[in-house]
């Protein structure tokens, strides 16, 4: 009886987008590149995707995608424009919402900005299958707040020691401050296949040893390797031309790897 009712109840409620924050700890590890190409790969698989510049005006999303916007989130907050008019179509078949400069003065987060961002994400959820939040670098309160808007977190790291340290610090803070119990990991710019898997294993060991004791008893923190992306000269080429690698050179190893990330997210 209840089983028969379920489909109709499900149909009545609008499907809400999955929200995924993309963050890194350290800057310059390819976080925005992964966000943009992942969005395009998801779009190719028939998903309605929105990438939100959650760096609040400091993101490079517009640079990576060669986008210009007259209307930004800043205008929406000020009541100068409708939310719909701020959403842009990006080359990879997905949508982008740019924050615009001046949204957060001196990167300070006010209650007002928080409420508005929360409201906007909620408002957009019924219209998309995926909302990717491209956050800033570092572990500032703006980044932590942007991550808190999403139900899933993806940390992008490279094998570089500084990147690993910052990724680890980010994971630690997210586990203890936001009660995250599952964090996805993409290891970018690896030199050989399998390096990402080894790094995940190493991070997991340090987490189990040093982070678990700080969590409530019985809690766990699982780091899931979403994928690894080989260091690829094609990436540099595409970035210089301000193109998406999955669009411009879909056959290159990095593009294939990012396509695999999308497939895994949907699996």
């Amino acid at each position: 009886m209840t089983e028969r009712k379920e489909p109709s109840a499900r149909a009545a409620a609008p499907r809400l987008a999955r929200t995924l924050a993309v963050t890194s700890g350290k800057g310059g590890v390819g976080k925005t590149l992964v966000s943009a190409n992942l969005a395009a790969s998801l779009a190719r698989r028939g998903q309605r995707v929105l990438v939100l510049d959650a760096d609040l005006g400091l993101a490079n999303l517009d640079v990576v995608l060669n986008l210009h916007s007259k209307v930004t989130l800043h205008d929406v907050f000020n009541g100068k424009a409708e939310l719909e008019s701020a959403i842009l179509s990006a080359p990879g078949g997905f949508s982008v919402l740019l924050a615009g400069s001046g949204l957060v003065e001196y990167s300070r987060l006010t209650n007002d900005v928080r409420e508005q961002l929360l409201g906007i994400v909620e408002k957009l959820k019924p219209h998309f299958d995926f909302i990717l939040l491209d956050t800033g670098a570092g572990i500032s309160d703006v980044v932590l707040f942007a991550v808190s808007l999403a139900s899933e977190v993806l940390v992008v790291a490279t094998p570089e020691p500084t990147s690993l340290t910052d990724a680890y610090a980010t994971i630690k803070v997210l586990a203890t401050q936001q009660d995250r119990r599952l964090i996805k990991l993409v290891v970018n710019q690896i030199a050989r296949a399998g390096e990402g898997r080894a790094i995940r294993g190493q991070l997991q060991q340090v987490i189990d040893r040093y982070v678990l004791p700080a969590l409530p008893t019985g809690a766990s923190l699982k780091l899931e390797l979403l994928g690894e992306v080989l260091s690829d000269p094609a990436v540099r080429e595409a970035v210089l031309k301000r193109q998406l690698i999955v669009e411009a050179m879909p056959g290159c190893p990095a593009a294939v790897a990012i396509g695999a990330l999308a497939a895994r997210l949907l699996a």
Binding site: N111, A169, Y210
Partner: protein
């Protein structure tokens, strides 16, 4: 114009009444209406508007101003700072069993004890109801634990006379969070973090202190060496 004058006079009258009610006298021998008199009036009003009427502690408005100044200071100086959130345990029971005047008595007594336990540079504020906030600038983690525990113990030790010959004992739970020294935080998030620790203290049985691990934001040398054990072992493989 003719309408405005009586309104102004009325507001001045209200202000004077407010000050009189709060037991604040303007300096004697000063000509009413003079610049000096007006200054004293404004100073008194400002002070009044930043204090909690029942306890005389900083009120929530003043707390928020002080906290956001502390956030700025920490971001510039990198000094450790701690925010404590304290809540009287089972306060509703005191109110239910002994009445609201007794509840007020407990709040006043706890407020006074909190003030005694901290340095003059610290800010103790009544946040609302039976909830208090304490801002401790320049407070290293080790000191933070000691002071929070001292406050908790002192409140537990201090009986409150709610009626002649009738004492009740009160306890508080305390949650605290350090300002992350390398980041410009926001007052809101800082308070939320302390609140989360207070919740932990409450669920762990009350009358206790829970501080967020200050180490959460740092990666120790041990953690680093374990992280990078990877590269050496991998090369060998």
């Amino acid at each position: 114009m003719s309408l405005k004058v009586p309104t102004d006079a009325l507001e001045l009258q209200t202000a004077l009444q407010l000050l009189a009610q709060a037991g604040r006298d303007l300096p004697a021998g000063v000509e009413p209406g003079s610049a000096q008199w007006m200054q004293a009036l404004i100073d008194n009003l400002c002070d009044l508007s930043s204090r909690d009427a029942l306890t005389g502690l900083a009120n929530r408005r003043q707390f928020e101003v002080t906290l956001s100044r502390e956030v700025d200071r920490v971001a510039r100086s990198g000094e450790p700072a701690l925010v404590l959130m304290a809540d009287i345990d089972n306060f509703k029971i005191v109110n239910d069993n002994h009445g609201h005047p007794a509840g007020d008595q407990v709040i006043k007594s706890v407020a006074a004890t909190l003030l005694e336990c901290v340095r003059p540079m610290d800010t103790v504020a009544r946040f609302g109801g039976e909830e208090f906030m304490i801002i401790l600038p320049n407070c290293p983690p080790a000191f933070g634990h000691v002071v929070a525990e001292r406050i908790r113990a002192q409140i537990e030790r201090q009986p409150v006379a709610v009626a002649p010959g009738h004492d009740v004992s009160a306890t508080i739970s305390i949650g605290g969070a350090f300002a992350p020294p390398w980041v410009r935080s926001s007052p809101l998030i800082w308070v939320e973090r302390a609140d989360r620790q207070l919740y932990r203290a409450k669920t762990a049985g009350r009358n206790r202190v829970c501080l967020e691990h200050a180490e959460v934001y740092q990666v120790s040398a041990e953690e680093k060496s374990m992280l990078f054990g990877l590269h050496s072992s991998q090369e060998i493989e």
